[in-house]
Point group: C2
Chain length 658, copies 2
Amino acid sequence: MDHPTQLPTSEVDVVIVGAGPAGLMSNLWLSTFKGLSVRIIDKRTATVYAGQADGLVGRTQEVFNSFGFEERVLKIAQPMAEFSFWEPDRNGQIFRSSRTADGPPNMSRFQGAVLHQGYIERFLKDAIKEREGPDVEYGMQPDLLQVDESMVEGDDSHPITLRIRHLSEQESAPSQFGHTIANGLFRSTNFSTSEEEDQAINTIAKAGTQEIIKCKYLLGCDGAHSWIRRQIGVNMEGDQTDFIWGVLDIHPLTDFPDIRSRCSIHSARSGSLMVVPRENELVRLYIQLEDLERNMDGRIDRSKITPEDILRAAQKIITPYTLQYDYCDWFTAYQIGQRVSTRYTKFDRVFILGDACHTHSPKAGQGMNVSLMDAYNLGWKIAQVLQHKAPRSILATYEAERRPVAQELIEFDRKWSSLFSGKLEPNDNQAEDGLLEEFKQTFEDAKLFVAGITVTYAPSVLVDKTSHQKNDHSTKVLSKTDLAKGIHLGMRIPSYRVLNQADARSWHLQDRLPSNGQWRLLIFAGSMIDLAQRERVLAFADYLLSPLSILNTYASEDIPLFDIITVHSGPRTEVELSHFPPPLRKMSEYNNVFVDDHSYLEPFGDAYKNYGVDSIRGCVVLIRPDQYVSWIGDLEDTDKLETFCRGCLRRLPSSSSL
Amino acid sequence: MDHPTQLPTSEVDVVIVGAGPAGLMSNLWLSTFKGLSVRIIDKRTATVYAGQADGLVGRTQEVFNSFGFEERVLKIAQPMAEFSFWEPDRNGQIFRSSRTADGPPNMSRFQGAVLHQGYIERFLKDAIKEREGPDVEYGMQPDLLQVDESMVEGDDSHPITLRIRHLSEQESAPSQFGHTIANGLFRSTNFSTSEEEDQAINTIAKAGTQEIIKCKYLLGCDGAHSWIRRQIGVNMEGDQTDFIWGVLDIHPLTDFPDIRSRCSIHSARSGSLMVVPRENELVRLYIQLEDLERNMDGRIDRSKITPEDILRAAQKIITPYTLQYDYCDWFTAYQIGQRVSTRYTKFDRVFILGDACHTHSPKAGQGMNVSLMDAYNLGWKIAQVLQHKAPRSILATYEAERRPVAQELIEFDRKWSSLFSGKLEPNDNQAEDGLLEEFKQTFEDAKLFVAGITVTYAPSVLVDKTSHQKNDHSTKVLSKTDLAKGIHLGMRIPSYRVLNQADARSWHLQDRLPSNGQWRLLIFAGSMIDLAQRERVLAFADYLLSPLSILNTYASEDIPLFDIITVHSGPRTEVELSHFPPPLRKMSEYNNVFVDDHSYLEPFGDAYKNYGVDSIRGCVVLIRPDQYVSWIGDLEDTDKLETFCRGCLRRLPSSSSL
Ligand SMILES: Cc1cc2nc3c(=O)[nH]c(=O)nc-3n(C[C@H](O)[C@H](O)[C@H](O)COP(=O)(O)OP(=O)(O)OC[C@H]3O[C@@H](n4cnc5c(N)ncnc54)[C@H](O)[C@@H]3O)c2cc1C
Ligand SMILES: Cc1cc2nc3c(=O)[nH]c(=O)nc-3n(C[C@H](O)[C@H](O)[C@H](O)COP(=O)(O)OP(=O)(O)OC[C@H]3O[C@@H](n4cnc5c(N)ncnc54)[C@H](O)[C@@H]3O)c2cc1C
């Protein structure tokens, strides 16, 4: 066992360790690209457990939509419409002091919704299968990681060596799953297929054996206790607080009127509670636990906490309403801690993602969402580097873009959690309690942030914008942000309705931006009935057809690297498809030219107005494969566009001359 | 083979012959009810073919939604937004003379869409599987049908004897499928699962053997050439015209600008053509064929028509635009004929449905829709009779309700087809041609009818309304139609948005009316902040709880026969769930009380206004399991409600006293 050279050895492009949300999203993204070899392993068995995350924010659903399975979420998730605040009156009795919309209006088409993590993992796996991506290999755990530093800049080298051990059934049993609290991890077989169960059995047959995998990239998606993180010597910064919270997933029996609304209940003397209604008539309760027994060392042994303990605490808070349950799906108890990894990568070869680089309380419902988005940020970059379409330098943007998101989240969570757990000042007029006012205000202020749509990536080779860092004189900004005041460099492009010129069908623009690895050249053609403007559009099209244009320089072996989408400002009935020359539109292609006009059936999108684009002169927007905005310019700014692309794209060795 | 008594014999409740849309919808409906035994057989092999129907009207999609799979349609179907009219100018050159919305605005949430019949059959089969309904047994054909008239009124008798023959592969091959034109029936394996292929092989192994099935009800869903129809001695009334039309399903190469819009093209001298854009970038063309060679007997041999012939005819019509294709999915040629069966049933034991009782041209896109709706009308009635929940007399409503629908369709189709095929008068100003004006007007007038939402069933034991037939003095109308001016007896209840009182989630009312066999008591509670009105609501609830109420008289062994839905007029925030007594709302039930109020997220439904119900005093509406409206009354009209129910429901033998 100690002679790695004698072990079976194989080579792949990427190994993903951990098949939680971050690992599966990585796998899905990589599966979208042709020709990559990927393995994904996990130390546990295939069965998915109840419990864990359940909040899906707007941005996550936009991404699911871009992978084509959001309708499955919409069908069963419980949408979050309202948040109610409950607090004690003068007599210490709780009452509903106010209600507000749960999410920000009109900022994402998809509102916050609640759905058990097991469904999400199921949907991700099904989408991977559709793309013929690799199945998860369960019951496997790495026990040795080496990176050959001399090889890290090589194009096709495999600098990473990983030794893997196949586990026995016992070793991969639930008590080792994710968090260390074993109790409360009930098996739920609803979410695994029979093939997966079979595969799990096969895996167990190899128990005890080892193998070596050499790979180009390694993704540590192995959760809060990440082994990969430890191997690359990265620490977590932050702290652990003393508050203990219990979680109950139950089918409730109660006369509390807002049990199907998300709400916070601050009691006068018994701590607080959050209600999160869920799919299938379940409700999740987050309950502050007080008066817990301490060990000799003063610490609380969370493994001793039972559902009955948690229910009792909840009953105290919710009194005079009654609360019981006739079914408990899952429970756990956790201690709030907010921590972020100091680094997200080693050599831009080994990366950590998801809970492996940030942990915090679950009450803001962000952990799974941010973990999924880490993977959504990184996946296409690695794929395009592996396909030689992009230089390795783009990989540095992963940490640069995602670590600040985690830091911001941790800040928010620290504030939100402490306001949630905070003791009310004993005073006569508790309704006016300052803490509660701050709590409500924090909730209002955070709606956009929580929806995940305010994430803004800093300037880099992938985002061309003015740097706010003083010393960054080197950045030469190539974009003209004024041309599209509703589109922000480094943010995901918002979605408004446009009509297909060919069939008058109304589209949300984002539906035209599936996650398939393509960059998008979004051409706001402006007014095609203005002859001077039409000339400008024709000139831009001519540029694109010219041999040295970005289209022809950065050719791709599979699908075109650039997907061209044109939106003109109408009116639709005065413009014909034939007004759009190639490559804006080719014969028998009917899904590239759109118009900002009224629809027969759907509400008007007002796209030019919402995107802040001049309806005569338009502009051009370059969008990354993950829907974030890279560059904005005029139809004449083709040199700037080229300069920008040189920084983040790579000519194929096989591609045409020059 | 000629000694039926020696053949293997079995008994079931229902046999469905034919697994096209009508047969599968029948199967789906019956599978929704617990405890019925059903077999469904079809003479062809399992493989589904390309071609056939592809238009899905709004009402059909509402029904798919009620069975829980409409989102699959929405994901891939091509929605129909616009219809363009093309006609010849003075010089005989075609031009786009006008455009209009394809469907009626706001009448159904679901707009007309196009999706290949193979998908629809796939979705139906998957939904049947989910409900654990029976698989189709392919390669089986009945060759003897006997009905024992002495047994037809018996409760649990099996008056029908059917002898079935298992076919060889050759016998069940495509040339026998549906229409007699074999050419153009290309196999498409996209739509059948591997299990189905296996099953088909097993079936073939039995080739040549026979069996006897005795059943209570027999559904003839065996298409235009229905064998069942002939066995029960029913004829088709109507005629066959001489126009021959070709159909091409192609991926087009053309510069015709409206190829992705539904449109009609009337050429000056070469006949007409209809364009129907489809899913997966396909387009269907309906093309009038002229100058066809005739046989000695003066008849046209349609089997000699090739796709090239049809394309050539299309090219002539569409000139000066060019038209080619790089892929042909399917083609056929047909002759227009409009015919309806004289009867739809024998003894209310054997029924015919779908194409077995009506045929017409496909250009109005109605055949599959009306066939599906035939089955949707009949399925629950048979199920409730079999479950002893309803008297056999309700079965007479099938023919009474569905035959007029077919007749109206045939009338429309006759007009529409002749306007479509009609010759233009050679005149100077063709744009003003009277025929074309009538064609456009007919299109506008028919939008609601075509969407399938104007279907209105006549008075019967299932629809309580004033009869328009002079001699029907016996009908005593129990309803007060003025109480809900937007709801019409005998029509499907329209859908508007309401909010769930418990969680502020916005619902389309129809989403709360799934096809699960339940009758709905829709209680418009009016204003719950008006104390007098609240008393009226409490009194109605008291009635429902009383031992002789319809709830307690017509108990059911599986799910409750009546589903109670309450919609009050708001405001939501001034009313609490606890204001609603049982049975309007029970503890830990949060999906029965709704309110007509503004939503945080969705457009306001204005339900009381749209339903035409007084927002103070409300009313009560009784809705059939198929969403058609049976009865409307005041909260005090419980005696009328009881009288109505006595006509169409049956006390369970086991149910409580009296
Ligand atoms: C009670 C609770 C409520 C929550 N609520 C929410 C919420 O509402 N919204 C939200 O967004 N998030 C929520 N979260 C957080 C969310 O569950 C996590 O953020 C998310 O699961 C992180 O995903 P991940 O893929 O990074 O890690 P994990 O889901 O932890 O997956 C890590 C995987 O790696 C495997 N693994 C670990 N070590 C190894 C190893 N050495 N070798 C091989 N495999 C290994 C594990 O078996 C596991 O499958 C909640 C969490 C809890 C506990
Ligand atoms: C070119 C074309 C275009 C069309 N377009 C549309 C459209 O856009 N919209 C629309 O709504 N409709 C359209 N239709 C009509 C539509 O296809 C039919 O109305 C529909 O299929 C009828 O359904 P059905 O179940 O009644 O019969 P069918 O689909 O014909 O099914 C009958 C089934 O019974 C089986 N069968 C027949 N005889 C026997 C027997 N003796 N024993 C056992 N099994 C038997 C057959 O194998 C078949 O599977 C179109 C039809 C055609 C040909």
